[in-house]
């Protein structure tokens, strides 16, 4: 049952990205181009998503278990770290270069666009690099102890 919910959630998320225009890099860049002819559409995507999300999280935060009896796994970390700041900065530059963030890139991959496949392959390489660096530094710490 939880797998079916996850799949339907992914499907609805993807259709939402398409309907909203987020899955179209040209529209995303039109939003990010404040100094040019600015398309404010994506601000409304955020507003709509957060309006529904805020109600859902209000309920979710009060519960220990989900409606299917699974543990509520809501992040507890509250610290603004250097990793968060630098990681977000690098992400934003990549977002501005191509107009893709992870969700829309996967939707465009599903639509069969060659450049989306290239973007997702490079994105997985970037995520793999993160894992590699993290494990190497973990090993160094373990070795030092």
């Amino acid at each position: 049952m939880s797998l079916l919910v996850a799949m339907l959630s992914g499907l609805l998320f993807g259709v939402g990205l398409m309907v909203s225009g987020m899955a179209n890099p040209a529209k995303v860049l039109g939003f990010l181009d404040l100094a040019g002819r600015w398309d404010p559409s994506l601000a409304l995507v955020m507003a709509g998503a957060i309006a529904v999300g805020a109600v859902a999280f209000l309920f979710a935060k009060r519960r220990k278990k989900s409606l299917l009896g699974l543990p509520m796994q809501i992040p507890a970390s509250a610290n603004v770290t250097l990793r968060l700041v630098l990681g977000s900065a690098v992400f934003g530059v990549g977002w501005g270069l191509a107009g893709f963030c992870p969700g829309p890139a996967l939707v465009a991959l599903g639509a069969g666009l060659p450049k989306a496949w290239g973007f997702v392959a490079a994105m997985l390489a970037g995520m793999g690099a993160f894992e590699f660096i993290e494990r190497a530094s973990q090993r160094r710490q373990d070795g030092a102890l």
């Binding site: 990205l17 040019g36 309006a51 299917l68 990681g87 934003g92 530059v93 977002w95 107009g99």
Partner: protein, 144 residues
């Protein structure tokens, strides 16, 4: 700044946003999970082989969305302006950046802000700022 009224799609964008919010609401209320795409995808690579099923199911739904949209007779043609070098560089930066930031537009921008996380608000402000800056430099300083 001038508003591009010809491209502005308030109705569709708000509707799509409500759908994205409903998808995130479903996932957290039923499964207790955050609909953060970079985290869901990155979790597949992190080497822990627990809880892979829901990640794969969610991503399958996301990637399957264009097929459903085609069935419903709504073919969209995403317009990708960036060249291949830009695409590959951008993909790598988005991949490594979102993992260090522990989230992207969905995990921080939608879910994080929805639950009132200051950390997510800061992350969103930063990636929007560098996104605006990057487009300003590439379109207006370098002439795109």
């Amino acid at each position: 700044m001038s508003i591009d009224t010809a491209s502005f799609t308030p109705g569709l964008s708000l509707t799509g946003g409500l759908m994205i919010g409903a998808a995130a609401a479903m996932l957290v209320l039923f499964n207790g999970r955050i609909a953060g795409i970079s985290g869901i995808l990155g979790g597949l690579l992190s080497g822990s082989h627990k809880m892979l099923g829901w990640r794969i199911a969610f991503l399958a739904g996301l990637i399957g969305a264009p097929a459903l949209a085609n069935l419903l007779g709504d073919p969209i043609a995403p317009d990708i302006e960036a060249g291949w070098v830009q695409i590959l560089l951008a993909g790598f930066m988005v991949g490594i950046g979102t993992r260090y930031a522990s989230g992207c537009t969905s995990g921080h921008g939608v879910c994080g802000i929805s639950r009132g996380s200051v950390r997510s608000l800061v992350a969103t402000a930063i990636f929007m700022a560098t996104g605006f800056l990057t487009v300003f430099v590439s379109r207006h300083l370098l002439g795109g």
